[in-house]
Amino acid sequence: MKNEDIRIGLYVCHCGFNIAGVVDCAQVAKDSEKLLGVVVSKDYKYMCSDPGQEMIRRDVEELDLNRVVVAACSPRMHEVTFRKCVESSGVNPYLFEMANIREMDSWCHSHVPKEATEKAKDLVAMAVAKVRFLKPLDTLKVPVVSKALIIGGGVAGIHAALDLGDMGYQVYLVERSTTIGGKMAQLDKTFPTLDCSICILGPKMVEIARHPNVELITNVEVTKVDGYIGNFQITVHRNPRYIDEELCNGCGECTKVCPIEVPNTYEEGLGPRKAIYVQFPQAIPMRYAIDRDACIECYKCVDVCTEQGRYAIDFGMEPQDMKLDVGTIVVATGYDMYDPGFIKQYGYGVSSNVVTALEIERMLNAAGPTFGRVIRFSDRKEPKTIAFVTCVGSRDKNAQIYCSGFCCMYTLKNAVLLKEHFPEMDIYIIFMDMRTNFKGYEEFFNRAREMGIKFVRGHPDEIFEDPETGNLILSLEDLSKGQPVDIEVEMVVLSQAVVPSKGTKELAQILTVSTDNSGFFLESHPKLKPIDSATDGIFFAGSSQGPKDIPYSVAQGSAAASRSARIMSHDEWEIEPIIAYIDPKKCRNKSVKCGVCATKCPYGAITVLENQEAIVTQAKCHGCGTCVADCPSDAISQQHFTDAQINAQIHAALDKNPEKKILGFLCNWCSYAGADLAGISRHQFPPNIRPIRVMCSGRVKREFVFEAFLKGAGMVMISGCHPADCHYISGNYNAEKRIKPVFKILENAGINPKRLRLEWFSAAEGEYYARIMREMVDFINELGEDTIRAENEKAKPLLERMIKRGT
């Protein structure tokens, strides 16, 4: 298309005061009118509103527009909205571009409105420059496998599985342990109604076992995930039970004859179990397993099983890998309890009379290791005084900085249960703040006070044991009195923090999804996509995404089921056509042995046969662009992120005062999201950055860096996900490998190599992004514009040579 045929409509959104409170939107719209190709330029209060979208549609029709730019919030927020709007007005949805002047401008530069307005103009110019080079694209349609994988059989996973099963979808529920039930199965009662936990969970577990659409696979771990929305290929590694699940009927004769006893993890180690065991009587599947680490292979179990006429025990069972094809994945891997032994002053592990909340929970349970009796371990006596301590490992910068959410409530619950069982007992709850903010919770707190439980606001500095009596002395300040006090009790219960379950980090890498600063899975949007991961088709439920109590976990399990069904209810799903394509004329593999692209592709999507042009398998390509950046003959291009489009953005960004500017390449999944978060959290930093979004840091060619310095840039930043966290498996490693030598090249050219930065930060690290921005601007100021200009001038010939060599 010729330049004069390009007709762009430009719309600058006020977003109420969110943008207009800082950026002079009318001025941005007016100044951008002059940009090449812009036919109409307007500002409006809310572009995403119905009248806003209608305005675009009307203008397209009346003014014959064929490209649209909206300067508003992050494309991660409303790109889809406006693409749909543009499409409905008859323009190809990929002839649309967004300028992010909210998260990346007004929200993070609110103290410098003038500079923010200038930045907004640059961001608009960059978007307009890119939109001129955009090409119409057709969305790809992929078939959807209408089966779901649920990882984790706790209360959240159980509900997700049952809901999807009831809707008629085939569900694989995979569980690491030998039984489903999760943490809830360990609880005695549940707050605030004091229902028996296993009594309400048990029937749901049975339903899982009976459901015709749910296939339960226990004792497995997910080891590999390939594919994409609608078409995931899962590999799970199944550890042997050494019991044939088909043949075992759960009679339990074997466990009676087994001579080996080991601590039972289900009882928090307070009671024994045999080497051949079920974790608890309500376990699903009700099938035994052999703990081979404990087993001495006396084969008494085999004898008794044979006597029963069953031949269920098989010591020759091998671990096996299973392959599952699914359309969607729900991750419900739950949480672990924090080990309070890490914080020495609480005395856990030092004094046996200091126990954890889950330990007393098991003691309170009538079927538990003490049959409902609460005893302290030093002398096996029933304590007459007990103190509960909250926030153990939570809200503590030395442990977990976050509030674990439901500890206040389970502390109240355990205290109330104790008081009910033993009305004479003196019970203290030592708390910093009491957080009871859901239905019926505050009422439960009232009930605890009415029962005579003593509440002391404060937090112990230390808990130490009197060696003679075994009693514990808590030294703390009673905040209400303002005085230091010592409280002596016979037993202490620590309300531990909640931490991500073991293996969360590894699973995140397998799924190529992110975790937050606390190690829990990171949702796609904190408000509007709390269930979705950043990867389409993968959802989170329950405490895997952050600490949650039972009702909240159940609600999320059902929500994840509904989000999955939204996809699986279609035969086909549209995916973005942002994939690599090869220009066969340019591919040099025809004449010389090359194949670089195939070695760089993390998905094996490129086939290179001798003396033939390389071929991209569309369905396998995830669109990272790493092959594009590494192709020695520039034969590969990435749709929607072509060299021409990115170069146009570089030129527009550095049009005016380039020495002061930082040109940033931000990967879509971690860095761009992290930069968005800096804005959402209103972290303030100087507005020197001009961000260019790429799908992966692996897309960034060396020539982009040279081009930027040739255009006079002050600094260049290339940023991606943390090593091992890349959304495209290895894109960031490839970026690092490619960019590392550039520092030396720049130095040889006379450019201070510190003016190029390679940064890894996650979608959760908004604060870190703000900090590196401040650092970089400090460095620009330190060098001074004159030095930068002189360095760039000196480097010009070499940079030009490098670019020429590359193309």
């Binding site: 002053q345 926030c391 809200r395 503590d396 910068k397 030395n398 910093m432 703040d433 606001r457 404060g458 937090h459 112990p460 500095d461 230390e462 030294s475 703390l476 300040e477 009673d478 905040l479 303002g482 005085q483 230091p484």
Partner: protein
């Protein structure tokens, strides 16, 4: 743990104190507070965060801390209270507020004997009885050397004259 070695930024100290959520752990473990109800680390931080820093600087409290660092080990918000107090002391001296006599007496003892608390005759007797031997003399000259060379004496004297 952030340290305040300079007297430059009182605002930074105040902002730092503002992070405190008043759990009282510092107070629970404080050995001074147990014997002296005029020392209250939690209230000191509270006063800094929302009260008048002038009152804090002119008050006696900051001079009562024994710098044992128990609170900085246990503070869940990682506030280095002893370092913060050193910062405030430097600040106070700089604006001409001198420490109370009790503190000055301690310093004098340090300069003269090399010890903040020299062993009393009662302790000496007790040690004799238990056969523990005499406590060695501390190197008072070295302390004096340090105090002269760091211009501590000069600083305190000049502030004293100003008063």
């Amino acid at each position: 743990m952030t340290t305040f070695n300079t007297t430059k930024d009182l605002d930074a100290i105040k902002a730092y104190a503002n992070v405190c959520f008043q759990c009282g752990v510092c107070m629970g473990g404080c050995p001074v507070a147990r014997v002296n109800d005029r020392f209250h680390p939690r209230r000191l931080i509270r006063e800094l965060a929302i009260g008048s820093s002038e009152d804090v600087l002119k008050g006696e409290t900051i001079w009562l801390c024994a710098q044992c660092h128990i609170c900085s080990e246990t503070c869940p918000q990682g506030i280095g209270i002893p370092d913060l107090i050193i910062g405030l002391r430097n600040f106070a001296i700089n604006i001409g507020v001198l420490p109370p006599e009790s503190f000055v007496k301690n310093v004098k003892q340090l300069v003269e004997t090399g010890r903040l608390v020299p062993p009393s005759s009662r302790i000496e007797q007790l040690r004799d009885r238990l056969g523990l031997g005499r406590i060695e003399q501390a190197a008072a000259e070295e302390v004096q050397h340090l105090i002269t060379n760091t211009k501590f004496k000069k600083l305190v004297n000049s502030k004293r004259e100003n008063q």
